[in-house]
């Protein structure tokens, strides 16, 4: 046998072999048949080979780094489990922030995986194909580690026993779900602007700060670790998002208006989605990291703006919606938390009225609005609760056709007046929470008329528990919907005070610190 010893390849050569040398020009199939998704969005790419993968990651170094991260992560998760790490959190109210996170985010990670796997197949050049495939694997890993982390909590606490089932059905979870489904049903270029640029680049810190730092501040090692493990992939993902946007803009001047429209749309979609994050930061972390308003100012108004300054040389403008978001930053979290408080029987986590200390913290962080508008609301709720008449709004809310959030947002210049926007399409009426959601609809009504709006689905009778008979004389529609969601009213939701979670946490923590 003839054995010739080859010189070890350098990293650059390895990357070249894995990418460029894996790409070939089809000879008996037309290129547009092999890559059928590249033209219909109107983006023009003249030379895919000029795309440079900023990381030039090779498979062997990728596996090595990721495997190392996984080993560390699971070692910590094991230790967390064995030492009952859940009992080290500041206060069991914190676990409700985790319930929201774990109900919503693993499915988003999975959809990010699907989206990038599709791009790995459909992008026109080998460089972006490989980068998207790597990101697809990362997103699958994020999804898996989060699912594993659910068991740190759902063995002990209520409301997240069936996260996947609820993710497909529960009204407020349709907000993140439909966000990603909107992105996954876009063409490849819009998808990468939506997720790779707007979500991962522009808004990523606003997502990670409350979860990762929030976990650290609140003594939750398990979450902090899977948060960091995912976040260490983000630099790569963010760079991919930014490189692709620059690449599109450099390839053809006709791409600019299309890219701008997508940035406008997805910045708004992303910010609407972050409403729930704003609420978590200001209300659900017993030990606060910073206020939503401060986070928005640092991570968007400062960091985000410098990014847009960078892109200005390509002709990209700051999205119009930013003006509205600036006005909303003083109101968003308060409006969201009062909504969830009042909608208590329809959620899978507990709510509470902020303590006096917390009310003072909110007054200090929101000097222009909190005492004027929001403190009196909590004082009213507290008074009602003390009288034994805890306030609940049991009605189904009207939802925005685009973001699917209840129409709870007020006019940008009048915090006492709900904003209503309305369009007609094909003889049907459609309603929106804002100019920006209306604008997104008006651009592509055929897409959003197909939205699965939970409230309308309930009213159509599509969300009753299997086997229940809506025509039976004793049929209770609310009870049947709860059963369909796999939720037990009063156990999985409602007030934290007096809940099974509160009692168990106190009892278990007591066992770790005393002998009785």
């Amino acid at each position: 046998m003839d054995m010739s010893v080859k010189k070890k390849l350098g990293l650059k050569e390895k990357y070249a072999l894995m990418t460029r040398n894996l790409g070939w020009e089809p000879s008996y199939e037309k290129r547009e048949d092999v890559y059928p998704l590249l033209d219909y969005e109107g983006i023009k790419i003249h030379d895919w080979d000029t795309w440079e993968d900023p990381f030039r990651l090779t498979m062997d170094s990728y596996w090595k780094y990721q495997a190392e991260k996984e080993r560390k992560l699971y070692a910590i998760i094991d230790a967390f489990n064995q030492n009952n790490g859940h009992l080290n959190v500041t206060d069991a109210r914190y676990i409700n922030a985790m319930k929201v996170f774990l109900s919503a985010v693993p499915a988003l990670e999975y959809n990010a995986h699907r989206g990038f796997a599709r791009l790995g197949r459909h992008m026109g050049g080998v460089g972006p194909q490989v980068a998207c495939q790597m990101q697809a694997i990362d997103e699958m890993r994020h999804c898996q580690t989060q699912i594993h982390s659910i068991s740190n909590y759902n063995r002990f606490y209520n409301g997240i026993h069936d996260w996947k089932h609820m993710n497909d059905r529960l009204w407020y979870l349709s907000v993140p779900k439909s966000f990603f489904e909107d992105a996954c049903t876009c063409g490849p270029f819009e998808f990468i602007i939506a997720i790779g640029f707007s979500f991962e680049y522009v808004l990523t810190n606003l997502v990670f700060v409350p979860f990762v730092s929030g976990a650290a501040y609140n003594g939750d090692m398990g979450t902090m670790t899977f948060g960091f493990s995912a976040q260490s992939d983000e630099a790569r993902h963010m760079t991919l998002g930014l490189e692709v946007i620059k690449f599109m803009l450099e390839q053809d001047p006709a791409n600019l208006p299309i890219v701008q429209k997508w940035i406008d749309k997805w910045t708004w979609r992303g910010v609407r989605l972050l409403t729930i994050v704003a609420m978590m930061m200001d209300y659900m972390l017993p030990k606060r990291v910073m206020s939503w308003k401060e986070a928005w100012e640092i991570y968007f108004e400062e960091n985000g703006m410098s990014l847009f300054k960078d892109l200005a040389r390509y002709g990209i403008k700051v999205p119009d919606c930013v003006e509205q978001i600036k006005k909303e930053k003083d109101h968003l979290s308060h409006q969201a938390w009062t909504t969830f408080y009042a909608a208590a029987p329809m959620t899978n986590f507990h709510t509470w009225i902020p303590s006096d200390d917390e009310l003072d913290w909110l007054s200090a962080k929101y000097p222009d609005t909190f005492d004027k508008y929001y403190r009196p609301r909590f004082e009213f709720f507290r008074e009602q609760a003390e009288k034994g008449e805890r306030f609940v709004n049991p009605n189904l809310p009207q939802l925005c056709q685009v973001c699917q959030i209840p129409m709870l947002f007020t006019e940008p210049d009048d915090p006492t007046q709900i904003a209503y926007r309305q369009s007609e399409h094909d003889g049907e009426k459609y309603h929106f929470c804002s100019d920006h959601c209306q604008h997104i609809f008006d651009n592509e009504p055929e897409k959003y008329v197909e939205a699965w709006l939970p409230v309308h689905q309930i009213l159509q009778g599509n969300c009753f528990a299997e086997g229940d008979d809506p025509s039976a004389p004793d049929f209770d529609p609310i009870a049947s919907v709860m059963k369909y969601w796999h939720l037990e009213n009063g156990r999985d939701n409602g007030d934290f005070a007096g809940s099974e979670d509160e009692k168990n946490f106190a009892a278990w923590r007591g066992m770790t610190t005393s002998n009785t």
Binding site: P36, L37, Y40, E41, G42, G187, Q335, T338, T339, A342, A343, K372, Y373, P376, R377, F380, F391, N393, N395, L396, P397, Q398, L399, P406, M407, L408, T410, P415, T416, Q417, I418, Y420, Q422, H425, D426, E428, K429, Y430, H431, N443, E444, P445, E446, K447, V449, E450, A451, W452, L453, V455, H456, L459, Q460, G461
Partner: protein, 119 residues
């Protein structure tokens, strides 16, 4: 067709009236009363009278608010899809031009929420 797609596609609106088994969705909102956080979505027969809507739907929905008992119904300002209108109380929703997915809002001048602050 505004939507871009790789092949022709016909959108199927999910919430057309025909999907609600003879009833229709009507949204109501008592403006300046954010205690109820968002407009409510009600499933109603088109032939229910406006007065019956007030008595059997709006009253149980909103009566918890301290302002509710003080409403002078003759002075209420009604809006239908953003346009002011005067409902005929003993006439049906359909007769009042309220169709599937109409948004009905009402204002109660002088009653603008707790402390007049929109709540």
């Amino acid at each position: 067709m505004s939507v871009q797609s790789i092949r022709p596609f016909k959108a199927a609106a999910k919430d057309v009236a025909a999907n609600f088994h003879g009833q229709q969705v009507v949204y109501f909102c008592w403006d300046q009363h954010l205690m109820f956080y968002a407009p409510v979505a009600k499933l109603l027969p088109p032939d229910i009278t406006f007065q019956a809507v007030i008595d059997t739907e709006l009253t149980p929905t909103y009566s918890r608010h301290p302002d509710f008992a003080r409403i002078d119904w003759a002075a209420v300002q009604w809006f239908k899809d953003g346009e002011a209108f005067t409902p005929v109380l003993d006439t049906s929703l359909a007769g009042n031009g309220i169709t599937h997915k109409t948004a009905v809002h009402f204002k109660t001048p002088g009653l603008n929420g707790l402390n007049g602050n929109g709540f």
